[in-house]
Amino acid sequence: MTAKQFFKSTAFKCIAVLLSIMLVCGVLLTFCNALFYVTDEERTARAIAKVFPGEEVTTADYTEDALNEEHAETVNYEVTAAYSMTGEREGMYLLTVVGLNGYQSGTVTCWVLVNTTLDGEGNRQFDGIERVVVTGNEKQSFISKISDSAIQSVIDKQDSDGFTAYNTTGISTGATFSLGAIANAMNGARDYVNRVYCGAISDYADYEYNDYISDATTVTVDGTNVNYTIVTTSNGPANAFTIEITVDPDGRISAYEIKVNGSNGTAQDGQAYLDKMSAIAKDLTGQNLASLEAMLDDGSLSTGATRSNTLCVQAALFATANYERALEDFGQGGAQQ
């Protein structure tokens, strides 16, 4: 085929037409992209407008803070952005938090407005959540069932363990797992503000296996035994457990008693979940770090009340893994005595 024949052929016409169309479309899209580009500032302003409906909020009313990576992520939430409000809203913090462990292990992204106050000594303290706006989700098929009033009910029912969508009377949405992820986001906002802006550093921040351990946990040392009163976080539908654990010098659990069972109060299936908990999770006496770590992998926690079992084993892991450190921190002459 000669060059002249090629340029007259259908193949050349096809290539020329297709490339021409692509070129024109590409140029058009480039122009439109420049014309319709939405900046990050604009996106933030839109989200903030949802948090403050009917109020005028400009970029002068808030500053974006660098994220503290150390406190931004746990097994229940992930803080992705933090803003400090200024002017008449000073003391308020706006956080973008992804609540984890929703329906089908999906997530809910929320903007959470947290209020803080100053105490008599000028220290900043968490004073509650003002508003929560849901801006996105993954796999939450029923999230449309969650009304603003349901979210407000979760905010109003805050207790010492934080916010929970489970085991709370008066909140019935038909999307409890999604609401649970929103509660996780609220807890995330509260913890982040407490630790980063209010300076409330957890006693157990450097301890191992502290993912499910609440700051309400206490430790005492009795000779060479370490006594823990462990308060766990919630874990999906399983509420916080309070477990008393004693670890002996061999690193073995010598006493184990569940004082508050988080499975016990689940609104409808409470007793059923309690029955489904593995017998070994109810009494981990005699276990040590190695045997507990093995439990995480051998499938023995999957009994139909897996989340409750997980909390029990995580509490025991925390107790056994940190024996030496707790002895040092809380024993005679320890730094925290």
Partner: protein, 224 residues
């Protein structure tokens, strides 16, 4: 019948893309759990379908037959991207509500189907009318099913609470699938009954004409 009227009625009723041709099932099942996103998706499809039909019709003599499908895809993808940009800029709530299903319009069978079946054989004006009519047919179908699913699934209409009773399954694609199936049954039954009545009327008219013809022939034979 005026050809534009016929194109319009075909697009909305007799060739309804959702109920009669069962095209565009993916966004249908994904969005009819509530009425508002269904309506919004329908409106986006009307705009894209009309523009793509017009462009493809205008370029039908330029595009070689061998590369027509890639050319259609490039044109449709450009239009969809353009609409996404415009929605993201000016109607962010609509953009968020439609999510990834908006991008999936690129491979929506309705748009490619109308480009292939209609736009590349007809004039720009006819193609525009077909795009609008087919889009309206799609929008109506989606909105009606969205209203049913939202009402049963959440007890509300367009986000406004109507009743406390609801069956959650109808807020999911599984419930949407059931409503979709039943809607096809109902729509097909109505169209079938209408067409049957039309056929009966036509047959009756033809028989009367035939009888009149026979009577006339008998009279003429008598006269002869």
């Amino acid at each position: 019948m005026n050809k534009y009227k016929k194109i319009t009625i075909d697009g909305i009723i007799f060739n309804n893309p959702t109920f009669m041709l069962v095209l565009g099932t993916c966004p249908t099942l994904g969005l009819i759990s509530s009425a508002l996103p269904a309506l919004e998706m329908g409106l986006a499809v009307i705009v894209i379908l009309t523009l793509s039909n017009m462009l493809i019709s205008a370029m039908r003599k330029l595009i070689p037959n061998e590369v027509r499908i890639p050319c259609y895809i490039v044109i449709i993808a450009t239009l969809v991207t353009l609409i996404r940009m415009v929605l993201d800029k000016f109607l962010p709530d609509v953009y968020e509500a439609l999510g990834n299903l908006l991008a999936l319009i690129v491979v929506n069978c309705i748009i490619l189907g109308r480009a292939e079946a209609f736009a590349n054989k007809h004039t720009v004006l006819e193609s525009a009318v077909d795009g609008i009519a087919t889009g309206i047919g799609f929008t109506m179908a989606l909105t009606v099913m969205g209203i049913i699913c939202e009402f049963i699934g959440t007890g509300s209409l367009f986000g406004f609470k109507i009743m406390d009773f609801s069956i959650g399954m109808f807020s999911t694609p599984a419930g949407a699938f059931i409503v979709y199936g039943l809607s096809i049954c109902a729509f097909t039954a109505i169209i079938d009954r209408f067409q049957r009545a039309k056929r009966v009327k036509a047959n009756k008219l033809a028989r009367e004409n035939l009888l009149d013809g026979e009577n006339l022939q008998t009279v003429e034979e008598g006269n002869a």
